[in-house]
Amino acid sequence: MELMQGTLDMLILKAVSLGPLHGYGVLLRIQQISGEQLEIQQGSLYPALARLEHQGWIASEWGESENKRRAKFYSLTATGRKQLQVEATKWTRMAELVAGILKTTREEL
């Protein structure tokens, strides 16, 4: 399934909310929690990461990867956590709304 417009940022926030990750790690985490269902243009992760960091929702730090290589790790900030909550609430409400509309039958009108 292709990613819906505007949801990548939220997914990244969710991914790093579970613990600091490097860019490739974010990709793996999203694929893992989505059960390999989502197709992501891998390079587009980086503008999105930069955008989120620019907003102050995630912070980055250079560290060492599992195989002892230098990598940049991203973690959620306090404001990022709030933003994730807001986005999640918004998304859930939207999803319920759309689902409700789609389930509507003739009798209910």
Partner: protein
């Protein structure tokens, strides 16, 4: 959500700052991160069973376009914008470097335009915007009174007067007792903080120190002034309330300027005793540099004294003018003499109207209690004004000239803008192809616009920078043009951040204005048409019309400026050739004041007689005379004129100007006596009072009758006298060059009761050289403590009264020449461009049989039509705007046809002259070559 937006705003700023500063770190980090990603992915794929090469290939494919994503990151960090700006600037700089001539003309004309504006703004700021250098100047309120034309209960004034809005006159003068009473009332029912009093005493103080005599200016201040204004001396102490009592020792605080000038900024100045009008005064403090007193923002008086010092240092017998308690030298107890200013801080929360209402009641009570009131008396009205700029006299004097000059400089700048717009328009038409290529390659329209704007702004910034430098070095030009050799102008032209801001603002504005036209043209660029019409077609497209309109506008603006230059130059010429009625040649002027402490009246009159007699014997001096008022110095006295053989005239007709003079006044100034006689040796201090009247006065009061032998009185007060008319002199100008000679009578100064200060007029023998050393020695022989003040020639004195007109003539002539130059460049540019574009067309015409003079006429005709259209427009503008400066002109009307016709001729000649070069080039076009020409 609010908090969110705020939080992320600062985070964005921080992030942008970090990224922009550590640019290489960002780029390297980004590359490393992406490489890491692809290598990890490849490793994972390899573990999944792919060959190493295939894994690397797949990883790269899955990642996508690396450079594109990098750009995405840059954009996310806000760096794209910065990169584009840099590229635009680099490109713009390259373009400007490539056409050096164009850049030089553009930057040069902008520098002149912006520099002129900066120069005028520097003066404007000083005169109209600057506030007093005291704490919280906005809280200050200055009080004035407004009086009806007739029936004011106050008769004795000193200080500046002005017409009040809505009739009557307005002055900020009060009596000292009125100040004390208002202050007392305010203390029990406060509407203001404590009331402060001050009075600028002008440039009339004799300052003696270590046997050397000079002239200084002074300000009297109430004891609470320093404390109320929050001014702390940079050295020593301020004047305190305890200094402001008659019993206190005489102390002075001096200005920073005087401290530098006379004491070389030595701290030994404290405790030093100087002579002020020959009264010893001790210096106790030095003012901070910016402080200019309570009355003026322009320049500081040299010496500050408490009001308690007035009776001794500035004795005013009979309160300076007439009447009053003659036994005292003090004006402090005189209820009838209104001469000093009141200022104070408004209390928080009290409105100006509340202040006015309360103070008006107190003032009314005071006037009714102390002055003579009858049924015809019109009570003065109290006015509360902004006191933050002092008495703002400079503002009153210079406001109109400044507005006119600001208008003219704005026109010059607009003209420079029009010129640039025109040049840029021509260039942008030539760059149509480049724009089309950029658009075709995928540049957005906004991007192309930004590029064009960047170029204009770069140009205008360069011009602004040069203009700022010009304004900085030229900031003293106007004060310099306004000042005369013996009196500096009171104009403050301190350079500060507001001027920088103004110039920066003007530069950006001009850049936007002249950048608009080419930008607009760039947006119209059609990719296809632009690329196809690479070769200039035989038919011209409409795009030339913009340029023509701009040139017409330029000529119209130039016309207005040239007419202005013509009007002001002719005003100056007319003033210089005005009939004076006296001979100003070989005449030296200076003033001598008899200090009242040494020469109490009538000793002062005797001193002047002795000096007159002594100076007349100095070698090289042909004759000498004294006058109460120097001629043509914008100062005069007037008084009642009641002929004894006629019923008392009413209203204005009962006045005459008066000037007390020496015995040889008429011969020294070569003023002919028409009837009767001038003064002779039989007229002495003790003989009956005599006067000579001028022809205008004789006509007004005596008609055809011979006035000689008749008598008149100059009022009915105790100090007024009856004079016998012994002669009628020809009319001569008195105080103003602009006015016709006023009705004037001349009494002898030797017959007056007191004369503190007199102006000496010394007629120098032809070829006698400098007589002043001899004159100085002669004066010192009689009293070595008498400084000669304001030494100048009569001609310099006359020049000084028309210095404003000279300034206008000089500046407007400069603007006029500038305007002509700019118009010339504009027309030349347009015609040269038009000829270049039409090479093909002209070639066709010539091939079909047009002769070269026909082509010449065609091009010249085109520019003439532009000029005529511009002239018509400019003529209308000049006549319309001319009305605004009518009061500043002399001897001609703003629609003076000679000036208008002359200006039009000059402009037409310039327009044709500028087009001559391009026209010649067009007429020499070789048809064969032109047709081959792409």
């Amino acid at each position: 959500m609010e908090i969110w937006a705020k939080g992320s705003f600062w985070s964005r700023v921080r992030s942008f700052g970090r990224a922009a500063m550590g640019r290489t770190r960002v780029e390297e980090g980004m590359a490393e991160e992406m490489r890491f990603h692809m290598e990890e992915r490849a490793a994972d794929l390899e573990r999944g069973g792919l060959s190493a090469a295939e894994a690397r290939r797949r990883a790269r494919v899955e990642f996508g376009w690396v450079e594109g994503h990098k750009d995405g990151v840059r954009q996310a960090l806000g760096l794209r914008w910065l990169d584009e700006l840099k590229a635009d600037l680099r490109y713009a700089a390259r373009m400007l470097r490539r056409s050096k001539g164009f850049t030089a003309v553009a930057v040069g004309s902008l520098a002149l335009g912006i520099g002129a504006n900066t120069m005028i703004f520097t003066v404007t700021k000083g005169v109209l915007l600057d506030r007093l250098a005291v704490e919280r100047p906005r809280e200050l309120r200055l009080f004035s009174i407004r009086m009806a034309e007739e029936g004011s209960p106050i008769h004795r004034f000193s200080g500046s007067f002005g017409p009040a809005p809505g009739g009557g006159t307005q002055t900020s003068s009060f009596s000292y007792p009125a100040y004390e009473l208002l202050r007392e009332q305010n203390r029990s029912h406060p509407v203001m903080e404590d009331l402060i009093a001050f009075r600028e005493m002008g440039n009339r103080l004799t300052l003696t120190m270590d046997g050397h005599a000079g002239v200084a200016s002074a300000e009297l201040v109430s004891g609470n002034l320093y404390q109320q204004l929050g001014v702390t001396p940079q050295l020593g102490r301020a004047i305190r309330p305890s200094d402001d009592t008659p019993a206190a020792g005489l102390v002075a605080v001096i200005s920073d300027g005087l401290w530098s000038r006379m004491f070389g900024r030595s701290t030994n100045v404290l405790g030093k005793t100087i002579g002020l009008n020959l009264i010893p005064v001790t210096i106790v403090g030095v003012n901070p540099p910016g402080f200019t007193g309570a009355g003026s923002v322009q320049s500081s008086p040299d010496v500050f004294l408490a009001f308690g010092a007035q009776p001794q240092v500035f004795p005013m017998r009979g309160s300076g003018l007439t009447g009053g308690p003659a036994e005292s030298n003090s004006a402090l107890g005189d209820k009838g003499f209104w001469w000093m200013q009141i200022v104070g801080r408004a209390r928080a929360g009290v409105s100006d109207e509340q202040i006015r209402a309360a103070m008006a009641v107190w003032l009314d009570q005071d006037i009714r209690a102390t002055l003579k009131i009858d049924k015809d008396t019109q009570m003065p009205k109290l006015v509360v004004r902004d006191g933050s700029r002092g008495m703002a006299r400079a503002g009153e004097n210079y406001a109109k000239p400044i507005y006119v000059l600001t208008g003219m400089t704005a026109f010059v700048l607009l003209l420079a803008c029009a010129n640039l717009a025109n040049l840029l328009l021509a260039r942008s038409a030539a760059r149509q192809r480049e724009m089309s290529v950029r658009l075709a390659l995928g540049a957005s329209r906004g991007r192309v616009l930004r590029q064009v704007m960047t170029e204009s702004l770069l140009l205008s910034s360069l011009g602004g920078l040069a203009g700022l430098a010009l304004g900085y070095f030229g900031r003293n030009l106007i004060p310099h043009l306004l000042s005369s050799s013996w009196q500096p102008t009171e104009l403050n032209t301190a350079f500060d951040w507001r001027i920088f801001l103004f110039t920066a603002g003007v530069s950006v504005l001009t850049g936007v204005i002249f950048g608009l036209a080419p930008t607009w043209q760039a947006t119209r660029a059609e990719v296809n048409a632009g690329l196809k019409s690479a070769s200039a077609g035989a038919t011209r497209r409409r795009s030339g019309l913009g340029g023509k309109a701009i040139v017409v506008f330029q000529i119209a603006l130039s016309m207005v400026l040239v007419v202005g230059a013509g009007l002001f130059t002719r005003t100056l010429v007319n003033l210089n050739s005005a009939e004076l009625g006296f001979d100003p040649n070989r005449m030296m002027l200076f003033a001598i004041q008899a200090p009242a402490s040494r020469y109490a009246a009538p000793l002062d009159v005797r001193l002047h007689e002795r000096l007159e007699e002594r100076i007349a014997r100095v070698p090289g001096v042909e004759s000498v005379t004294l006058t109460e008022e120097p001629l043509l110095a914008n100062s005069m006295s007037n008084t009642d004129f009641f002929p004894t053989d006629q019923p008392k005239p009413q209203g204005k007709a009962a006045y005459s100007d008066v000037n007390g003079v020496g015995r040889t006044f008429f011969t020294t100034y070569r003023i002919p006596i028409r009837e009767g006689r001038g003064f002779t040796s039989t007229d002495t201090a003790t003989s009956p009072r005599v006067a000579v009247i001028n022809e205008t006065l004789a006509r007004r009061f005596y008609g055809d009758r011979n006035p000689v032998g008749r008598s008149f009185s100059n009022g009915t007060g105790p100090d007024d006298h009856t004079y016998q008319i012994v002669g009628v002199a020809a009319d001569a100008k008195y105080d103003q060059l602009r006015d016709a000679p006023p009705a004037t009578f001349y009494p002898m100064y030797a017959q007056q009761n007191e004369e503190q200060e007199m102006t000496y007029a010394v007629k120098v023998r032809a070829g006698a050289g400098d007589v002043m050393p001899g004159v100085r020695a002669a004066v010192a022989e009689i009293d070595k403590d008498l400084p000669l003040r304001d030494v100048r020639t009569q001609k310099e004195q006359i020049e000084a009264t028309i210095v404003e007109e000279r300034l206008f003539a000089t500046l407007t002539a400069m603007f006029g020449v500038l305007a002509l130059t700019l118009a010339c460049i504009g027309i030349y540019g347009l015609m040269a461009y038009s000829v270049a574009r039409r090479t093909n067309e002209i070639g066709v015409r010539m091939a079909l049989g047009a002769r070269s003079e026909q082509v010449l006429r065609m091009v010249l005709g085109e520019s003439s039509w532009l000029a005529v259209a511009g002239l018509g427009l400019g003529l209308a503008g000049a006549v319309g705007l001319g009305r605004l400066v009518r009061s500043m002109l002399y001897g001609l009307e703003p629609h003076d046809w000679r000036t208008l016709a002359g200006s039009a001729t000059v402009l037409l000649a310039v327009a044709v002259g500028a087009a001559l070069g391009p026209a010649r080039r067009a007429s020499r076009i070789d048809p064969i070559q032109a047709l081959r020409h792409e």
